[in-house]
Amino acid sequence: MNQKEGQIRIPAGCAIAGVFSRSGERMDGSAIMEAMTVMHDRSNGLGGGFAAYGIYPEYRELYAFHVFYDDTAAKTRCEEFLDRHFDIVNLSKIPVRKVKAITGEPLIWRYFMNPHPGRLADSQLEEKEYTARCVIRINREFTGAYVFSSGKNMGVFKAVGFPEDVGRFYRLEEYAGHCWTAHGRYPTNTPGWWGGAHPFGLLDYTIVHNGEISSYDANRRWIEMFGYHCSLLTDTEVITYIIDYLHRRLGLTLEEAAAVIAAPFWQEIEAMPEEKKQQLTYLRSNFSSLLVTGPFSILLGYQSGMMALNDRLKLRSMVAAEKGSRLYVASEESAIRKMEPQPDRIWAPAGGEPVIAALY
């Protein structure tokens, strides 16, 4: 039997795309699905997925968990845990349509919940930290259960298949959000596990990523000191934890976090004005084990924005464009033109230079 993510480290090439409306205008999922079809050859049918923000306005204050279960026994065990740690306001199967190309689906459930107030108080943790620890614990300890989405007013949808088929399977044209990111995967073997598809999410952070980072184990072994557990052994997982740690837990700005992950070269830092030089020297030397090397292009989705970032040598293609209040990013320009044929501006962001769009 093939080993799945977590039992083995699997390199993968990929396609990514994203669109963000700064004005908060909601778009349905059809455009981003179209964009992924033109990059069909960048995936090989072994993983596709989407993240959408602003899709659950009626439950905007609740954590939305999307969970894969291998069987009902796993579901029972996990729900017992969820019941103990959260007040579940609503639960249901995630609606899907039968698509010929998508097979072997697990049980796919959605929960809208609040942390259990008593438990939360006892834990002496901040609400997000409490929730994050619950997610990490389920994914680490509950065999057959996998939380693949855990933020508020957002959701991840992913499966084994080509991204356009995955989108149709999840009926994404029926969701509307102000931000969409998408991923098509080209892994180098055939794990066939839905949890291994991307985006990877923790709380409202999601990452889609194209690349294979060479710093993986340096990053993993460092971040695991801070309560994270890399159960999938994928780049995307570790990058998500790094951003969660730097941005949410330490309170660095996204620009500062980007300067850690894709730090400028020392020769560039030396040439900067004194104050900037000091700040970047501090970030780079203090978080040296969170520097990510090797090729990557990532799209980070979070509650109020989206950030695109390339490795500092730009070893993966990534193009950005703007039209009105919208920011588009994709591995290939063709995907952007599919969503917006006439952008106001289109450019290739330099390596290590974050492109950030936030709600007005």
């Binding site: 690349g211 000191m225 203090n286 084990s289 520097l291």
Partner: protein, 501 residues
């Protein structure tokens, strides 16, 4: 009466056809191996005095000399080797502790050679160090997990003082006294030229070397030789030597015939007396005492100098390091048992301690398990043979490495392992003026610079092959390592997979 003659282990071979009796070998050899025999009218030799240092071989204008291993033998015996038998004779004769120099020559496993590095193929690109920046700069010192900002929202650097190195290679502790002043000067000059540091060892700092303070680690060892306020203030960092790989559990010993003149003055000891350090620090009998010494030294230097704790790799090294990482120290140096320069009792050198590879892996893992790896940086030393060993040490979890033996080799040492005799023909481990002046500090410094520069180039090539363009991304990156021929337990301790996995 028992009469014993230990036949020399090495013999001088002189090519009679080439030798023209110029007597250069007589001049070069401080051990008086060579002489001109008036009776025969030819050069002759006292093989029993030869330490096999190759000085005569290198300087013979006629290239007439070589040293060969003697084929003299005892009756074959797999249980009692010639060495073992002769050691018994020597001790029966003299009643003393056997002394030897440099690291153990015995055939213990070398784990570096059982580890292989990765390279990128297809799924990610290798990076060309000739065409792209390839970064080897390292900072040593604690990292903070607490972000502070000033009133304008700028990040405030709240960390203790750190060390900046252009390459993750430092020269390890070797004292003035064990080494000649010229050798020490060469290390200081090379450290300055390279943007790294050398280490005074336990001999104090000669006044002519104070200008190299920014590239100097000043050591405080159990004898406190040469330690005073000005000395502490002179260096960039202070190292407390708790132990060293070649002789864990005992202190240093500089024989009186080396502790003379400037050496004795620098150590603040009587001229010609043996300088013997106590086995323990008598103010450190436990971890809480260490903490007090760390802070005493920091107080004495206004918190401007990082403090390094150097320990020998011993059985419980993980727990020891974990205690040190909570003691206020900034850096831990781990010295493996195969390492060692200078003199050590043979039995201790060959039987006490553990290999640095296993110690480093255990310490790095332990500190991470406890979430305190950021409290300290790690320097690994004790038998780093090449740039590949450096890269492997960093991938296992070191921030930088100490090199000692390799640095001596660069200066001309031929590993004859006779430092304790004080008659180093290469001018390195001697205080005899005629010998030490053989070492030109400028030339030796240049050779040290060449070595570290070459190694740094090689490290860059290895990194580039792995698709890594900054040394930070190699730090603790054990997936870049695979082992060959190690058993499950060794793999578990090293935290690496076997080749093919």
């Amino acid at each position: 009466m028992v009469r014993e003659f230990l036949y020399p282990e090495y013999e001088v071979f002189r090519n009679a056809g080439r030798c023209n009796s110029c007597r250069r070998c007589v001049t070069e050899c401080a051990n008086q191996v060579h002489y001109y025999d008036d009776k025969t009218g030819a050069m002759a030799e006292r093989n029993e005095a030869c330490v096999n240092c190759h000085r005569c071989v290198a300087y013979c204008p006629q290239k007439a000399l070589k040293i060969i291993k003697s084929d003299h033998c005892f009756k074959a015996n797999a249980n009692w080797s010639r060495h073992t038998i002769e050691e018994v004779y020597r001790q029966a004769d003299g009643g003393g502790v056997l002394l030897s120099s440099m690291g153990t020559p015995l055939d213990f496993p070398n784990y570096w050679d059982r580890l292989l590095l990765n390279a990128s193929q297809v799924t990610n690109p290798s990076i060309d160090p000739l065409r792209e920046p390839m970064e080897t700069r390292v900072y040593l010192g604690p990292k903070t997990q607490e972000i502070r900002r000033d009133s304008r929202g700028r990040l405030a650097d709240n960390r203790p003082k750190r060390l900046e190195l252009s390459s993750p290679i430092l020269f390890s502790a070797m004292s003035f006294g064990s080494l000649s002043l010229n050798a020490h000067t060469a290390l200081a000059k090379a450290a300055q030229a390279l943007g790294t540091l050398y280490n005074t060892g336990e001999g104090g700092l000669h006044r002519t070397l104070y200008p190299y303070g920014a590239n100097t680690i000043v050591q405080v060892a159990s004898g406190r030789f040469g330690v005073h306020k000005e000395y502490l203030a002179a260096g960039a960092a202070i190292e407390i030597k708790m132990g060293q790989g070649a002789k864990p559990g005992i202190g240093g010993h500089l024989p009186g015939y080396k502790n003379v003149g400037e050496v004795a003055r620098t150590r603040m000891t009587p001229d010609g007396s043996d300088a013997i350090s106590p086995a323990p620090h008598h103010d450190i009998y436990s971890i809480e005492d260490l903490r007090q010494l760390v802070y005493s030294l920091k107080e004495a230097t206004d918190y401007q100098k990082p403090v390094i704790i150097k320990i020998a790799a011993v059985h419980n090294v993980g727990a020891i390091a974990s205690g040190i990482a909570r003691s206020g120290a900034d850096i831990i140096a781990i010295d493996g048992f195969r390492g060692g320069t200078g003199a050590a009792p043979t039995r201790i050198r060959d039987n006490v301690g553990i290999p640095v590879e296993l110690a480093l892996a255990a310490v790095d893992r332990r500190l991470r398990q406890e979430g305190i790896r950021g409290n300290v940086s790690l320097i690994a030393g004790g038998s780093i043979h090449s740039s590949a060993d450096v890269a492997k040490a960093i991938a296992l979890g070191a921030d930088a490495v100490y090199i000692g033996t390799a640095a001596l080799l660069a200066m001309g040492c031929h590993l004859c392992r006779s430092c304790q005799l004080g008659r180093c023909n290469w001018g390195i481990a001697t205080q005899v003026a005629e010998l030490s002046r053989r070492l030109d500090p400028e030339e030796a410094a240049q050779r040290l610079v060449n070595l570290v520069t070459a190694w740094t180039h090689e490290i860059k090539e290895l990194m580039g092959g792995m698709g890594i363009n900054s040394i930070e991304a190699l730090g603790g990156n054990r997936l870049m390592l695979r082992a060959v021929g190690l058993n499950e337990k060794e793999l578990e301790i090293l935290g690496v997979k076997h080749a093919g996995e």
